[in-house]
């Protein structure tokens, strides 16, 4: 860097982010330019925020935002004066690192002799300003594709050799964003030199490399206050929560590749114009053709590497025709390459979830929708035929054992039951009926060889009566009912269980399954909270069996007594400081709805998206089999469509009041 | 300035026919037919066999912006002229107030077209006649530098058109209300050197063509053009003539009319007063409104000594064209220097029913458009009167005069001279053909 020798850093490098006012961006621009760099950053042009050369902070889209949807983009004025309060526009760093047309070789032919002179670029030194986490992820993908070997695109390598990146962590998101699903954002993790997070206060700038440190030192900005830092963290976490997890990535590759003949390919091909806009705006698409510019004699030739698209009719042409003559073949090539085969070729999906192809498809085709339709996440576990599945009928079972769990909660073991009950799955429930009382939904808290176990809190008259049953008493049961926790999906992956109070009951069969086949799962963590230590259920398991089986158990209580030395507080605090990475983790959550909302947000902030977060919902139920209508929530019947749902499935009905 | 000496009249042959089946180095397809019987010229005809394209019908039911795109296709040499007459007609009817910079850009666009068209005509189509070559390409063998300079100068005009309109032929950015895209100042400034070079070449060219021997010719035509008090006429002014016509451009139909002539796919225009032929174009403009020429152009005209001859000798129109070429470069440079991007490049507008009529000065002369528009802004009826169909009667009148001058020449040379005379008009036959007055009975 050719700036004046940096003053000895006034603060140790690890002092954390510095604070810059929005106007402080100009000195940063000046520093970058003084370093001989062309600064490529956002600016408003032709009705969009595009990337272009920036020499003055006045060119930045201060106060501009955007409104994006499939096939639609509109610039809008923001109510504040944020510099980076916009979502990605059509252009990406690709236009500079991998330009649409570059000469790669000059060739001559004269008197039978031919010569080839590779054109070695002398690219300008570039600093990218304002690029986002997903764009850095896209650069990483290009690095792998174009210079990961065995052959290297020399033009790309030269352009990429000295790029400095001043990135921005996202505090905004568009409905088209899905970086969360693709594990590429919105947090900045690596690949940048300086990280900026813009909040209402201003800019928090943090260095990630020595080059970044040097810049930061030269800016001589003050250290950000804890409040400023908290707001920044919060805004990025809120972005993650807002985006949710729109694409069910785990298993997507296999699911997609299993559907080469799905009728949806033909359906989408009726909409797709095969215009190739999607591949052109995609920051990772790298397909090119070599075009030639020649003089009239054909003796002096320049070969150009030119962006092409798998949507061009001639892209897959060979003598005798095109391999992919039908639009449906071309759409399938695009989607499966981005989301599946790329992984085999280069180790990651070819999509970073930037959403450009969704916004800039002129007819608004949304690849997320197409992927979900062609390769839906495995439908909820098949509902086994329940016993006594008519409104008036119940199978009779006998209480074989009674165990008092806490002052108000009792566990009943029931045997002599129709053996079909034993085929139930963790998470399912039964309607329990004592003649004279209304039938109640109660989760099955364990499956046994000849029956099942119910754990009941005396919350009202009927439950209190159930809690008072003695061995030998009989009850009516309908079940097992409803959807189950998706254990198959979690197989081989990490699992986090977050629950409170009686909510542990429907999760105990999950933990039983983990104990029974510990190898089947990755790390399993249980975060469990109760009002007081005395309200903790299943003490034996919590303190002995589960920890012994390699399940990480963390407990908390609202009110501690003298006998409690563990944490006190809400259950989400238990993983506030945890170090695990949520990007491939699933979560099962059960508790009061408020608690579940808070938990889902906290999990999202740790990288567990909506498609990997599962909850079990409680609603008033009279029948349990979809006939009485009591349990409806939006379009869902909690009894037969649930009670176990992924947050992705629930969408914004989850946590909304009054539904 | 010299006029080529005319040979002493030889005995006029009794019966003779001069015919050029397909005129060359003109835009479009026309023929020349001159019949002499008993020493009398009995027929002098510029035939137009270019296939008709029915534009006036095609624009019916179209929107104003569609019309701007469509009428451009009447002529690949002067598409801007068609766009200009149409856009002004509509803006006038709809009462659209355009930004002053939008207007300046329109003049600039017109400069580009005048450069392209005049340069093409002087160097590629007409000069070979004076220098005795079949084409500029052939001429390049002996005058390579001159032809290269000419092509370079012409390119400056095309580059200007390309910047403003996306492409030189059928530009795309002219819209009712302004421009779909206005250029940046830096983009315009980048064109300055080439235009300045073009200006110098045009000055040299004008001196050069003024030194060429002009065939003798004399006829005092009635001249018609637009005139504006402050500027050389492109898009605004009143219609004036050498014999006192002075009317608002929208009133074209009060003085002129079109009629059909056998052997021609173009309608001819004439004045309603029965005086018939009139002449449009560079010679008319330079004569009627020479006072508003750019000082550099005026200076060139004065130095050439052609100011008078231009009026009476049609062959000398090449000098008038050179003078206007200088004007176009010089004004383009001035406009670029003064350019401020429009604050409202494209003003919003609402359609209004009525008659939209406007005339602008195409490189070849007055181009009149008239549209009957309904309340949705759709065209119900159109009339487009291009310069060449208005000049046709003058051309034929001149043919008679020219014929008298050349009858003594050997047949081939005489024919060539007549062809050259027609080329002096820079006739645009493609234009002429497509203008067939169409009135549609809406009942």
């Amino acid at each position: 860097m050719v700036m004046t020798p940096p003053p000895p850093a006034p603060l140790p490098a690890l002092a954390g982010p510095r604070f810059l006012s929005r106007d402080g961006i100009q000195p940063l621009l000046d520093l970058l330019r003084a370093d001989g760099r062309r600064v490529i950053g956002p600016t408003v042009a032709d009705g969009a925020i595009v990337m272009d050369e920036i020499v003055s902070a006045d060119q930045l889209p201060r106060g501009w935002g955007d409104d994006q949807a499939p096939g639609r983009y509109r610039l809008v004025r923001r109510e504040d004066d944020r510099l980076f309060g916009y979502n990605l526009g059509p252009s990406s760093p690709k236009a500079w690192t991998f330009p649409s047309l570059v000469p790669i070789s000059r060739a001559t032919r004269s008197e039978g002799k031919v010569t080839f002179d590779p054109v070695l670029p002398e690219p300008p030194k570039i600093a990218f300003l304002g690029i986002r986490a997903c764009e850095i992820a896209a650069l990483r993908i290009h690095d792998r594709v174009l210079q990961g070997g065995p052959f290297v695109d020399t033009d790309y390598a030269a352009r990429r050799a000295d790029t400095l990146i001043v990135a921005v962590g996202c505090t905004v998101s568009a409905p088209t964003c899905f970086c969360t699903s693709m594990g590429s954002g919105p947090e900045l993790t690596a690949g940048h030199d300086l990280a900026i997070v813009e909040t209402e206060d201003g800019l928090l700038v943090e260095a990630a490399t020595p080059a970044g440190e040097t810049l930061l030192a030269a800016l001589a900005a003050r250290v950000a206050t804890p409040e400023e830092r908290a707001r920044a963290t919060h805004e990025v976490a809120a972005t993650r929560a807002r985006i949710g997890d729109p694409v069910a990535l785990p298993g997507l590759k296999e699911r997609l590749l299993a559907q080469p003949d799905h009728p949806r390919w033909a359906e989408v091909a009726e909409r797709c114009i095969t215009c190739g806009s999607c591949t052109s705006v995609c920051p990772t698409c790298f397909c090119t053709s070599v075009t030639q510019t020649t003089d009239l004699a054909g003796a002096d030739v320049v070969m150009n590497r030119t962006w092409d698209s798998c949507f061009s009719p001639s892209f897959a042409k060979v003598a005798g025709g095109s391999f992919r003559s039908r639009p449906r073949d071309r759409y399938r090539q695009w989607l499966t390459h981005k989301l599946a085969t790329w992984e085999d070729q280069f180790g990651t999906p070819g999509c970073v979830g930037c959403g450009r192809c969704v916004t800039w498809c002129p007819v608004g085709i949304d690849l997320r929708e197409e992927a979900a339709a062609i390769a839906p996440v495995r439908p909820p576990e098949p509902v086994i035929a329940p016993v006594a599945a008519t409104p008036g009928a119940f199978a009779v079972g006998r209480v074989s054992a009674v165990r008092s769990e806490t002052a108000d909660t009792t566990t009943l073991a029931i045997d002599r039951l129709d053996p079909a009950f034993a085929a139930g799955r963790p998470g399912q429930f039964a309607m329990v009926d004592l003649p004279g009382f209304p039938p109640l939904p109660i989760s099955i808290s364990r499956f046994t060889a000849d029956g099942l176990v119910l754990t009941i809190r005396g919350a009202g008259p009927a439950t209190r009566v159930l809690c008072g049953l003695q061995p030998g008493d009989e009850v009516g049961l309908r079940g097992p009912l409803g959807t189950a926790w998706p254990l198959d999906r979690v197989a081989g992956r990490d699992l986090v269980i977050v629950t409170g109070g009686i909510g542990l009951a429907p999760l105990r069969p999950v933990l039983d399954a983990v104990v029974a086949d510990r190898e089947r799962f990755g790390s399993v963590r249980l975060y469990y909270g109760a009002r007081t230590p005395a309200d903790l259920l299943f003490r034996d398991e919590l303190e002995g069996i589960w920890p012994h089986a390699g399940i990480e158990v963390a407990l908390t209580v609202d009110r501690a007594g003298s006998d409690w030395s563990g944490p006190v507080g809400v259950v989400t605090h238990l993983f506030d400081r945890a170090t695990w990475d949520g990007s491939a983790t699933h979560a099962f959550v059960c508790g009061p709805e408020r608690m579940m909302q808070a938990t889902v947000a906290a999990l999202a902030a740790r990288g567990i998206g909506a498609a990997r977060t599962w909850v079990t919902l409680e609603r008033h139920m009279e029948c349990g089999i979809g006939l009485c209508g009591h349990c409806q929530m939006g379009s869902l019947f909690i009894c037969k469509d649930g009670p176990v749902f992924s947050i992705a499935q629930l969408g914004d009905t989850f946590g909304r009041e009054g539904i | 300035m010299t006029e080529r000496p005319t040979p002493t009249p030889a005995p006029v042959p009794e019966d003779r026919t001069y015919a050029v089946g397909e005129l060359t180095r003109v835009e479009g397809e026309g023929s020349l037919h001159l019949v002499v019987r008993g020493g009398e010229i009995v027929e002098a005809r510029l035939g137009i066999f270019e296939a008709p394209r029915y534009f006036e019908a095609l624009v019916v039911d179209r929107t104003p912006d569609e019309v701007i795109d469509i009428v451009a296709r009447i002529c690949g040499i002067c598409p801007v002229a068609y766009q200009m007459s149409a856009v002004h007609a509509f803006e006038d009817l709809f009462g659209v107030a355009i930004d002053p910079s939008v207007r300046a850009l329109r003049r600039l666009l017109y400069c580009g077209e005048w450069i392209e068209s005049h340069a093409l005509h002087i160097w590629l189509l007409h000069a070979p006649d004076f220098l005795g070559y079949p084409s500029a390409i052939a001429m390049a063998a002996d005058h390579r530098e001159r032809v290269e300079a000419a092509l370079r100068a012409k390119k400056a005009g095309n580059d200007l058109l390309r910047l403003l309109g996306g492409r030189p032929i059928h530009p795309v950015s002219v819209r009712v209300g302004g421009w779909s895209r206005a250029p940046r100042r830096s983009e315009l400034l980048a064109l300055r050197p080439a235009l300045a070079d073009g200006l110098a070449i045009a000055q040299e060219t004008t001196r050069f063509v003024a030194s060429l021997p002009m065939p003798a010719f004399a006829r005092e035509p009635r001249l018609v053009s637009l005139r504006h008090p402050d500027e050389y006429p492109f898009n605004h002014g009143r219609i004036v003539s050498s014999d006192g016509i002075d009317i608002p451009m929208a009133d074209w139909r009060s003085i002129f009319e079109e009629h059909q002539v056998e052997g021609s796919n173009a309608l001819h225009a004439r004045t309603l007063d029965g005086k018939g032929a009139y002449l449009l174009g560079p010679a008319a403009r330079v004569t009627l409104t020479g006072g508003t020429l750019h000082p550099l152009a005026r200076e060139a005209l004065d130095q050439s000594g052609f100011a008078e001859l231009i009026r009476t000798n049609i062959y000398a129109s090449i000098v008038a064209r050179g003078v206007e070429l200088i004007h176009a470069y010089a004004e383009a440079l001035d406009l670029i220097d003064a350019y401020v991007p429009p604050s409202v490049p494209l003003a919003a507008w609402e359609p209004r029913a009525g008659v939209a009529a406007w005339a602008t000065e195409a490189p070849r002369g007055l181009l009149f458009h008239r549209y009957v528009v309904d309340d949705r802004g759709r065209i119900r009826e159109a009339q487009i009167v291009p310069p060449t169909s208005q000049n046709q009667a003058a051309i034929e009148a001149d043919l008679v005069v020219a014929a008298r001058e050349v009858l003594a020449l050997p047949h081939a040379e005489a024919t060539h001279r007549l062809e050259q005379m027609i080329r002096s008009y820079d006739p645009c036959i493609s234009c002429a053909t497509h203008f067939l007055d169409l009135t549609i009975d809406r009942a």
Binding site: W307, V363 | E27, V60, S135, D437
Partner: protein, 288 residues
């Protein structure tokens, strides 16, 4: 001149049918490259540029304009017989041009309404692309053609290689040039998706929708575009259809899509009764 060892220069002709001359003007607009071209090729017949005439035979013949009168129909057949490599240039020659809109109408009524003395005017009842009458070896699209594509074709002809005329959409050129999509960002209907590239996406770069002057590209999904414009964006079907009724309207699948959405705009479609003004003119002519 020049290269002494050069092989015989291909003999070239440029011929005009029904057109505006813009495409052949593009040849003259090659500017600084024009003289190069004339050194590489022998210009045998090019009436707009030269009074030296020839009837061929031609190695390469460029045809501008559509076939729209009986004389042209005869001529194109003769010319084809004298030509080795026949190239159509421009929307008129490749698709019938803007004047092909009249193909939707009743030609006689059309002509009668336009001319006071229709018997003096000879024209075919359709304006047709050249390929409807004779085989064509190559085509350059556009209204007008693109100079770079023209040069590329000339270079290919001069060296005997296949011209690189890419069969991609205007959208791809638009994106390569970093233009902002007017359809997505401004809601302006744009035909770029279904239109053959080659122009360099002029219209979108100039802030407006493509109007399809390069004609439909291979396999253009016009139905998909129209469905989006009407069903998703709420445009009136007839309005959406008339977007296609431009300079390449007669080319398929534009033509069928125009029919399916209610036909070409009125002016090109109706049987026109003799208008009062035309009648007046006819009377005048008769009187003279």
């Amino acid at each position: 001149m020049a290269s002494s060892a050069a092989p015989a220069r291909p003999r070239v002709g440029v011929v005009k049918m029904a057109s505006c001359d813009g495409c052949q003007l593009t040849i003259l607009d090659l500017e600084e490259r024009l003289l190069d071209v004339t050194e590489r090729f022998e210009i045998l017949d090019f009436p707009e540029a030269s009074s030296a005439r020839s009837a061929g035979p031609f190695d390469v013949l460029f045809i501008e304009g559509s076939i729209s009168d009986p004389h042209q129909a005869e001529r194109i057949v003769e010319l084809r017989a004298r030509t080795r490599y026949l190239v159509t240039i421009g929307a008129c020659a490749t698709a019938g041009g803007i004047q092909a809109l009249r193909n939707w109408g009743d030609h006689a009524a059309f002509r009668d309404a336009v001319y006071a003395r229709p018997e003096w005017v000879a024209s075919l009842d359709r304006s047709l692309p050249v390929a409807d009458l004779v085989p064509v070896d190559a085509e350059l699209r556009g209204c007008p053609i693109d100079p770079d594509q023209l040069l590329e074709l000339l270079a290919a002809l001069a060296t005997g290689r296949r011209p690189q005329l890419r069969d991609e959409s205007v959208c791809q050129e638009c994106k390569r040039r970093g233009a902002v999509c007017v359809a997505v960002a401004k809601g302006v209907p744009c035909l770029g998706q279904v239109t053959q590239g080659g122009c360099g996406a002029i219209c979108p770069r100039y802030g407006r929708g493509c109007y399809g002057c390069f004609g439909p590209r291979e396999g253009a999904n016009v139905d998909g575009l129209l469905r989006h414009l009407t069903a998703d964006l709420g445009h009136d079907p007839a309005e959406a259809g008339r977007l296609l009724a431009g300079f390449t309207a007669w080319a398929q699948p534009f033509r069928s899509a125009i029919d399916a959405t209610g036909g070409a705009p009125e002016g090109s479609r109706r049987s026109l009764p003799m208008a009062p003004e035309a009648a007046r003119r006819a009377a005048q002519e008769g009187a003279r």
